[in-house]
């Protein structure tokens, strides 16, 4: 691909994404067991409108669409940052132990304190952050190299996975509620969840803006970045912390939604290249659109059953990912 088409493509995609996002949101608000026409949506937001529509929109669909947007944005941003920081195209939030830590914390909460569904997001968030910090410090040896982080991540994931399975076997009666969460879904998510996650999500996404330049410099490799006067270890640690914050936020509310953090940054990289000035905002927008769209599909396609969006994303994501791998000869 020549540079001319690359810059043209970047421009087009930058222009197209807001429209895609808007359409996704409208689709999410409009579509469901009760379809609400777009003009009614307008009326409900700006001049009252039908009480039933109002209840459905404000109480159910709006928070869910908003959560879908934030979850997708956070996961894709975390994945985009990690792929660069680890210099590993297969890195995703799972690599640094975010998902496994969140999972164990969520199950423990359900087992120890079954009535505390309200606190599940907070517990999962704390677990996700704690396990990613554990991975980082286990990998530390005068600096944490990407390879060591990946290896420490594999070890921690294996251990926490065993704990998760053990708890599920021993307390099978108490962990029913946690199973949809493990599959990753937005069913029943509402204002309470949005209120919990929004501050962290917004903070994480805002902090991604100053992260763009260091992430770009780390792409040059540790040596080149150091020779350009960068404090490589410090920046890598901060970027990993930021990625855990983003991914932990998403995990706390949506559970273990896989593939978004892996596939969306990858697809965007194919379209706009490695430059984080484009890659990061477009991944955020792409992730937001993808999760919202997939969640709308997951709750409507199999009516009356609501499929957890994580399952649908994995089903769509896996083949798509394989196609990407085949098409892309040069990884990162």
């Amino acid at each position: 691909m020549s540079s001319l088409t690359l810059s043209k493509r970047r421009k087009r995609i930058v222009w197209a994404l807001p429209f895609v996002l808007l359409l996704t949101v409208l689709y999410g608000l409009h579509y469901g067991s009760v379809s609400i026409p777009p003009q009614e949506i307008w009326t409900v937001f700006f001049s009252g409108g039908d009480p039933l529509y109002r209840q459905i929109l404000i109480d159910l669909r709006l928070p869910r669409v908003a959560i879908g947007l934030l979850v997708g944005a956070c996961l894709a941003a975390a994945g985009a940052l990690l792929q660069g920081v680890m210099r590993n195209p297969l890195a995703d939030p799972g690599v640094i132990g975010v998902s496994a830590g969140g999972g164990v914390a969520a199950i423990l909460t359900m087992v120890v304190w079954p009535q505390a569904g309200f606190w599940l997001p907070a517990a999962a968030f704390a677990g996700a952050l704690a396990s990613s910090l554990a991975v980082y410090f286990l990998a530390w040896d005068k600096g944490a190299s990407p390879v060591k982080i990946v290896l420490a991540g594999v070890a921690v994931n294996a251990l926490l996975g065993a704990v998760t399975s053990g708890l599920m076997v021993v307390y099978s009666d108490r962990v029913q509620a946690v199973i949809p969460w493990l599959a990753g879904g937005l069913e029943g998510r509402s204002w309470h969840h949005l209120r919990f996650m929004a501050p962290y999500a917004v903070a994480g996404l805002l902090l991604s803006v100053p992260a763009i330049k260091p992430a770009n410099l780390l792409l040059l490799g540790d040596d080149s970045a150091k020779l350009l006067g960068q404090r490589v270890e410090l920046q890598r640690m901060l970027l990993i912390l930021l990625a855990s914050l983003l991914a932990g936020t998403a995990v706390s509310v949506a559970g273990l939604v896989s593939f978004v953090g892996l596939v969306v940054p990858h697809a965007m990289r194919l379209l706009v290249g490695d430059d984080y000035r484009y890659l990061l905002p477009l991944s955020v927008a792409g992730g937001a659109a993808l999760v919202t769209l997939a969640d709308t599909a997951a709750r409507t396609w199999f009516d009356p059953i609501e499929l957890p969006v994580g399952i649908l994303l994995a089903c769509l994501g896996a083949p798509f990912f394989l196609i990407l791998l085949r098409r892309r000869k040069r990884l990162i």
Partner: protein, 413 residues
């Protein structure tokens, strides 16, 4: 060297087990091009990495200008000195101009992206100086290896440091790109006074383009100075373990290796063995001492006196002399010194019998590491089918080689 010192290292130590720097003390002149040469594993790249703070030394210190390197902040250091690492790392999908613009990072805060007029000027200058401005909008990975190397250099130049280190900048390039890059660096040095230090494998390029040369071996700086004065046969033998002739054609040294396998010659071993009444061996040896002056004879190579105390009723003394040619030995027997010692023709009664043998043997020189067992040498010489008449002669060769090695150490040490 009259020039100011840009970089001074003092007793740099690093022990990585398999490899060590053993107290490297070098000074790199300011505003000059310095080449660091030496065999693989001699510590050249490691030295550059330590100087550029990519690696830490166990001991010793480095000054850039008159400041210790550890007193610089990272960005400040990156505005003073930078390096081009060996080009193994893949750069991301970026255009040439975007990559060169990264060179401005040490001049900005870590989140800043916007380029000032000064930044843009530096980027333009770096691209012009390297001739990469015509590719500014092309993606880095679509360029040829030589062009990519120039873009990397342009990125380093955009840092506007006074000192540029390069680790084998020409290794992966074809000859024309190699010369291209070297000429470009020469121009940068001439026009902008840039201090350039590079690890090079090519001694010819080192001599042709560099003002100063530092040679390393086994983690030590073993020679430094003007290339023309440093690159000598003795230098090649000591640093690279090769025998070669050196001739300068303009600034280029022409290095002609002497092929070792074909360098063989013959020698004559004369063994004079006498059986002596028990207890009288020392008399013969004393007598032989008086003969003297054999070591000043033309073609004399060496001498051993062997005393064997037998369990039988006699002792044996062998005097072994080695000569380049049979004529040389004969010349000795006709010499006045020899005649002097043999003036009394009567054989002393303690000599029971006397036997002289001549052996003409072929000397095959083989490169070998110090400490090789003589037996092994003989064996390998036989196995490789090279002409050695007997084990005895191979041992003689070994003695000969040892003598020569000792001489070399004396000369270079």
């Amino acid at each position: 060297m009259t020039a100011m010192t840009a970089i001074q290292t003092e007793h740099l130590q690093l022990d990585l087990g398999h490899f060590q720097l053993d107290g490297v003390t070098v000074s790199i002149p300011e505003g000059r091009i310095t080449a660091i040469v030496g065999p693989n594993g001699s510590g050249k790249s490691t030295l550059l990495k330590i100087v550029s703070r990519l690696a830490a030394a166990d001991g010793g210190e480095i000054r850039v200008g008159d400041r210790l390197v550890q007193t610089f902040k990272p960005a400040e250091f990156a505005r003073t000195l930078t390096m081009l690492p060996q080009s193994k790392e893949m750069f991301p999908d970026l255009t040439v101009q975007e990559i060169v613009a990264y060179g401005r990072s040490p001049h900005k805060r870590f989140w800043e992206n916007r380029m000032s007029a000064e930044d843009r000027e530096a980027i333009e200058w770096a691209m012009e100086a390297t001739g990469t401005e015509k590719h500014r909008d092309r993606l880095f990975h679509t360029l040829s290896g030589g062009e990519q190397q120039k873009v990397r250099i342009a990125m380093a130049l955009a840092q506007k440091t006074g000192i540029l280190l390069l680790d084998e900048p020409t290794t992966f390039l074809d000859l024309s790109h190699q010369l291209d890059v070297m000429e470009m660096l020469q121009r940068l040095n001439r026009e902008w006074g840039l201090t350039i230090v590079m690890v090079l494998h090519d001694l010819q390029q080192a001599a042709a383009y560099c003002h100063y040369l530092i040679a390393m071996k086994h983690g030590l700086a073993v020679a430094e100075g003007e290339p023309r004065k440093v690159i000598t046969p003795r230098f090649l033998r000591y640093v690279y373990d090769i025998d070669a002739k050196v001739r300068f054609e303009e600034d280029y040294p022409i290095i002609i290796p002497v092929q070792k396998a074909k360098e063989d010659s013959t020698m004559v071993i004369v063994t004079n063995t006498s059986q002596i009444k028990k207890g009288h061996a020392h008399k013969l040896i004393e007598r032989f001492d008086k003969v003297g002056k054999v070591e000043f004879m033309e073609g004399f190579l060496g001498l051993e006196v062997l005393l064997t105390e037998n369990t039988k009723d006699y002792e044996e003394v062998s005097v072994v002399t080695r000569w380049r040619r049979k004529e040389d030995f004969q010349a000795w027997t006709r010499s006045s010194a020899f005649k002097e010692s043999h003036r009394h023709r009567d054989i002393p009664d303690y000599i029971l019998s006397n036997k002289i043998t001549f052996q003409e043997v072929k000397i095959v020189r083989e490169p070998r590491t110090a400490g090789t067992e003589p037996a092994e040498t003989a064996q390998s010489a036989e196995q490789s089918g090279q002409a050695v008449q007997s084990v005895q002669s191979a041992q003689t060769v070994e003695t000969e080689e040892t003598a020569e090695t000792a001489e070399t150490v004396e000369k270079t040490g």
